[in-house]
Each structure stands twice: as C-alpha cells, then as structure tokens.
C-alpha cells in the first residue's frame, strides 16, 4: 500500500516533469534557440523547481540527479518538442493551460509531501510546494531575461500555495496522505483553471488609494 502510494506519487511527478519539459522546450523553440538551448530550457523548466527545493532543504544531491527517471523524462520531453514542434504547436491553448495547471498541482503536492517527510515545519512545506511548482519556470524565465511568469501571471503561484496549504490542513485533519494529496491537487488545479476562465486577478497596491 505504501509502495503503491509512492508509485502513484512518482508517476504523477514524472507526468508533471514531462509536461513542464515540453513547455520549456517550446518556449526555447519560439525564441529560436538551437538544440542545446532547447534541452537546457527543457531541463531547467522540468527539474529546476525540484532542484531548488532539494538544495534549500539540504537533500543534496537533488532527486532530479539521483533518480535517472527525472532527467530521462525531461530529455524525452525536450526531444519530442524539438522533433514534433509543429504537432505540439497545433495543440489548443486551453489544453496547454489544463496540462500546465496539472503539472503545477502535481509539483506543489509532491514538493509539500517530500518536505513533510523530512519533518520540517508545515509553513516550510507549503513554501517548498510552491517553489517546486514555480521554480523551474522562474529559472527558465531568468535565463531568457524575462520577468518570471510567477510575478506577472495572476493566480499562478497563489494556486500552488493554496493547494499545498490545503494538503497540509487535510493532514492536520488526520486524513490519509493519499487523500490529502488528492485534495491538494484538486484545489490547486481548480483554482488555477477557474482563475483563467473567470479572469480572476489578485489585488494591486494601486487599488488601495486612500
């Protein structure tokens, strides 16, 4: 049962890795980078968040380097995007948003779960969930000298924080790790998708004129 749960978590984590690798590679292709640049951005987007988390919580070398399945998945994502970029570009925008939201949710929950297992405090686990989810995109955007999407896109990191926090709360309420993770994924995914379709924005300081 424990193993099955771990297997499921790993499978979901690898699915998120594949989605993020393809996204990073596609952005590299749009920026007309060469094969190496495409691979660097595929790896950075897919593995950067988890590596930042592992470096911060002291779990080095990062899982993305110790477990060959993570770099292999990122490599596959990069190669698929590079060779089949015309197919990938034909994917409807809303499907991309859905897959990205799924990757965000899976990474947030996986990052929170890993931090909790190391007996670190709950607020650290919530922060690490968000860093796992958005860190790869931040590295990718910094390398392209873009202001990171996390600072520009409404309700993106916020959704990751909400999913991680809900998962921690569910664990406090003595739900099983698997149920808590499922609730966290649903909250993050749902909040992200609803915010896109409903054009939700976070408040800006300019709204608080006296």
């Amino acid at each position: 049962m424990k193993i099955a749960s771990n297997n499921l978590l790993t499978l979901l984590d690898l699915a998120g890795t594949l989605v993020f690798a393809i996204e990073g590679a596609m952005i590299a292709i749009e920026n007309e980078l060469d094969l190496l640049g495409v691979m660097v951005l595929a790896f950075a987007t897919a593995l950067g968040g988890g590596m930042a988390r592992d470096v911060l919580i002291g779990a080095t070398p990062p899982e993305a380097l110790r477990d060959w399945r993570y770099p292999s998945t990122a490599l596959i994502g990069g190669v698929v995007a590079f060779t089949a970029h015309q197919l990938v570009q034909a994917v409807p925008h809303m499907v991309i948003v859905d897959l990205d939201a799924a990757g965000l949710a899976l990474f947030a929950v996986a990052g929170t779960e890993k931090t909790l297992r190391l007996k670190l405090p709950a607020f650290v686990a919530i922060l690490m969930g968000a860093i796992t989810a958005v860190g790869g995109g931040v590295v990718r955007d910094v390398l392209l000298t873009h202001v990171p999407a996390v600072l520009r896109i409404d309700v993106y990191a916020t959704a990751a924080l909400a999913g991680s926090a809900t998962m921690v709360a569910a664990r406090w309420a003595r739900m099983s790790p698997r149920v808590a993770a499922a609730i966290g994924v649903m909250v993050c995914f749902g909040l992200r998708i609803v915010s896109v379709t409903e054009h939700w924005n976070l408040p800006r300081a300019i709204d608080y004129q006296w």
Copy 2:
C-alpha cells in the same frame, strides 16, 4: 550574557529583515506587481541573502526557513508596504537611505558572525557577510531583469565588505564578539552614508588609461 548577546543579534537581524522586506515590496509596487508579486519580492529581498549564505556554507535548511520569526517578519513587511504604500512613499529619501544602510550593516555583521561560528576561514566569513547583505537585493533585481544594484551603486557591497572585514579584524585583536560586531556595523553604516552624502565613487578601469 551569551544569551543576551544572541538576543541582541537576532533582534538587529530581524530589524534588518523588516527594512529589506518593505524595500522589496515597495519596488514591486512601483513595478505594478500584484499582491503575490509584492510578497515574493518582499521575501526575496529580506531572506534571499541569508538563504544564499546558508546554502553556500552548507547550513541547510536555511535559518530563514527554520526560524519562523524571519518569514513572519518578511510577511509583515510585505503586508505593511502593500496596505500602507502611500505612507511609506511619503518617507523622506534620506531616511530610506539611512534605514537601508542600517539593514546592510546588520546583515553583513550577522552573516560574518554566523560563518565564523561554523569555524570557516576569515575571508569566507567576510565574503559571506557581504553576500548576506547584498544577496537579497541581487535576487530581487534579477527577478525584475534589472542589472543588480550591487553592480551599479558605488560603495554598497564595498561598505558591506569593509564592515565585515573590520569585524573580523576586531575579533583578531581579541575584542569581544559584541564590541567587534558593533564596530563592524558602524564602519559599514558610516562608509555607506558618507559615500552617499559625499558622492564617493569607486574607480573605473577607464580611469587607468596609459
């Protein structure tokens, strides 16, 4: 006495954290980021330097994540800046410069002190003092795709290096940790303020034409 000294150091460190968090948040507000962006830059500016130091010296998870008072202080700074930004903007420029110089000095000394306690060499302690002091600002500027202030502003990181080096020298001269820290703070703060009021510049290579 030991505890009192630690308490004082922590109190000063938290004061620096608050100042840097408000500064980071105000820059986010000037860049019209939303609430999440304001919080990210408040955290990055206030905690980024100490986190970079702790990751480099192998003291993970970083103090900023293990001690709830640091993220709480950064959160308060971000919320204060967000809700009261018109009040903060009314603060005279020279007061901001003074507070920033104080934060710089406190972080430089705290970073040097922590590195010395881990029995690392003196020059590492001086470098880590400077990284603690300017690292958060570098992370903030990189996220906003600005060339970091530390590369543009004259006598900023230099003041941090001078304060850290003076503190190490005072410890070599067998002064008590508390006195050495006080001297380090005064040198860094004084050098920064004098360089602003006197418009001191560091030399540029262009000045060395033959």
Copy 3:
C-alpha cells in the same frame, strides 16, 4: 603519483580559474562597471560554475571557498584585468577563443572528476562537468541581464558535455584517470575550436519543417 596527478589537476583548474576571471573582468570593464563590479564578475565567472556544482552535489562549503587558492586566483585575474585592461584588449581575438576553450575543457574535466570521486552516477558526472564549465558564464550573463552565452553560442556547452562524456567513457574502458582526463580535455577543446573555425551550428527546430 596520486599526489602528482592531483597537483596537475589542481594546477590546470587554477589556470582555468585565471582565464575565466580575466574574461569576466573584461566584460565588466566593457560594461563600464566600477572596481567592485569588475571583481564581482571576475569571481562569478571564475568560481560560479564550481560553486553551483558543489552546492548541487552537496559538497558544501564549495571548494572555491574552502581552498584559498581559488579566490586568490580570481582576485589576481580581476586585478590584472582592471589595471592592465588595455594590454588585455590588445590580445588577438583567436587567442582569447583558445584560452576560453582551454578553460572550458579544464573545468569540464575537473567537474566530472570531482563528481565521479563522490561515487555519483556517470550521467550526473557528465552534467556536473558541463555545469562547472558553463555555470560561471551563466551567472555573469544573468547579472548583466544578457541571455546566457550558453543558450546563444553554438557548440559551447555541447563541447563541455562531449569532453565530459568522453572522459567517462575512457574511464569505463579502464584507462587511467590521468589519460581519461587528457582525452576529455582534448575532445572538448578540439570540438570547441573546430566549431568556431568551421562555423558549425547545432540544428534548430525550424529546420525540421514537414
């Protein structure tokens, strides 16, 4: 014999550090940064790759901080470039390319060697070789808000990856560490130089239209 081999490796590593420090400093001078900025970029370019490697593989504090010869060499490189920048600028472009390729090859091999000694998997050692070789340049370019050279220049990180991979393969073929390192250096250096003189490019996704 073991010690002699180590000494040789360290000497080559320090030579690479000097070359990269001078390069970083010269780019800072071209960007009209002051003395501190020149030193920051000299240190970042020369030591950033090795520090990123050591943080990722958990070998903290990084060798660049524990072994005083590395920061001292970076300091010398920065000072030389700052005071003698007119001499350095007179160096022919192809000599710069040769020295940079040599630094790239030495760092790739040194990073791979260090990772293998920590008993990490071969693919991690290859990746860490490349990160050691190009990481400093990435940090430098990010600080200057340039898209990193590694994403723009054809066959640069690729040469580092090829050199590291060849070295690992030579070790698998039971060659001595010294011979394997020499082969790795020659492959990386040769591939880099040939790609410059022959204007080799990596493929772009745009070439794969159907």
